[in-house]
């Protein structure tokens, strides 16, 4: 099935959010391959394209990853619940993460995104090269999913124990599992995300010189027009 990636890029970015609650209905392989084809258009160091994607649909493999996911979540969730006490956004996140933990093996497909390298980067630029050669592809995968209304979520919980993740997925040394993107047709909808005004995180020429503090790009424009 040829899918339609004509959604405007601004709309896709503005309405991208983590979709954890999905139906168990299957996703056509050709759809997953089209998403991954767009993923591989992403920039990567020296165009070496050393990424590897493991699409997991086999229930036996999914169950093993689900066990990994639950094990870590059960260890850390008390801490997250504590943090969430005065933080409604965190509470919502915790509920959704619990849902994902309870239903992990029911995602119709998940993509384990791997980079070529090592978990030990001796110079920051090496780490940047490893992660910088997989995360742009992951973001393409997420955005492309959003564009066709397929739910997607980036998670790392299931990969906390590298030795066991490797064994489950048959990954050799040198291919590092980085994130799991769960996929599925959403229960609920994509929609606008909640972010600080852009001016809060943008400095000019030197860190913390923030001429646009508290402002969105639209407000900056108004200010200029009336100047």
């Amino acid at each position: 099935m040829q899918v339609d990636f004509s959604m405007a890029i601004g709309e896709a970015m503005n309405t991208q959010r983590a979709i954890r609650r999905v139906k168990p209905d299957p996703i056509d392989d050709t759809i997953i391959l089209q998403l991954l084809e767009l993923a591989t258009r992403a920039p990567n160091a020296k165009n070496e394209q050393s990424w590897e994607f493991v699409v997991v649909k086999d229930i036996a493999v999914k169950k093993q990853l689900a066990t990994e996911n639950r094990t870590l979540w059960n260890m850390v969730k008390k801490r997250f619940e504590k943090k969430g006490r005065d933080n409604p956004a965190m509470q919502k996140l915790n509920v959704a993460t619990q849902w994902a933990a309870d239903n992990f093996e029911n995602y119709p497909a998940m993509v384990v995104c791997c980079y070529k390298g090592s978990t030990l980067a001796l110079h920051p630029l090496i780490g940047t090269q490893y992660y910088g050669s997989i995360f742009p592809a992951i973001q393409n995968l997420l955005l492309a999913s959003r564009a066709i209304n397929l739910g997607a979520n980036l998670t790392t919980i299931a990969l906390w124990n590298q030795r066991r993740s490797r064994r489950i997925l048959g990954l050799p040394r040198g291919i590092v599992p980085c994130v799991v993107v769960t996929l599925g047709w959403p229960i609920g909808n994509y929609g606008p995300s909640c972010r600080k005004p852009v001016g809060d995180v943008v400095s000019l020429d030197r860190y913390n010189n923030k001429p646009w503090l508290g402002k969105s790009s639209g407000e900056i424009e108004i200010q200029k027009d009336t100047a």
Copy 2:
């Protein structure tokens, strides 16, 4: 100036490439802010939005980053030239990287993208969290630039010496400069990038089980239709 982010996401991804050769013509601040606003719609760990973006337009700061960039490039370029001897793609990359080194201070603007954390990640999941909370935003910045035909390139060369990068940009400990995205109106054009068939990098259920080896998503579809 309100810019138009209506380009189809598929087209933007399929025609994204590193644009190093650009004109020195200025870029309106409101354009840069709109790009960064889309960058901040990207996923990030726990929606903490701990990214920081330093937009550099001041020629004095640009010159210091240009010196950093040239220093490392002069140290490593012999090695890259050697690698490029039998590799036309690498030769092209080297020529473009040399152009960027020679003209670094003439980019009208560059964005130093920073994450909150440390260059030392004691567990792989921590590194994933740091880089995973900045690279999706960087990819949004690059894709959004592509959508408005503004040239953009992700580079790390200028940041090889963390101590000096910090001093140049006034970055405190805990805010790590990760990549520089150079911006400018392109000399030349965006266009299709060169990638392996998606089937070469996709395994099913277990690493190296590659049912789609050598195939693009279109070829997989044909195979299915005729089955």
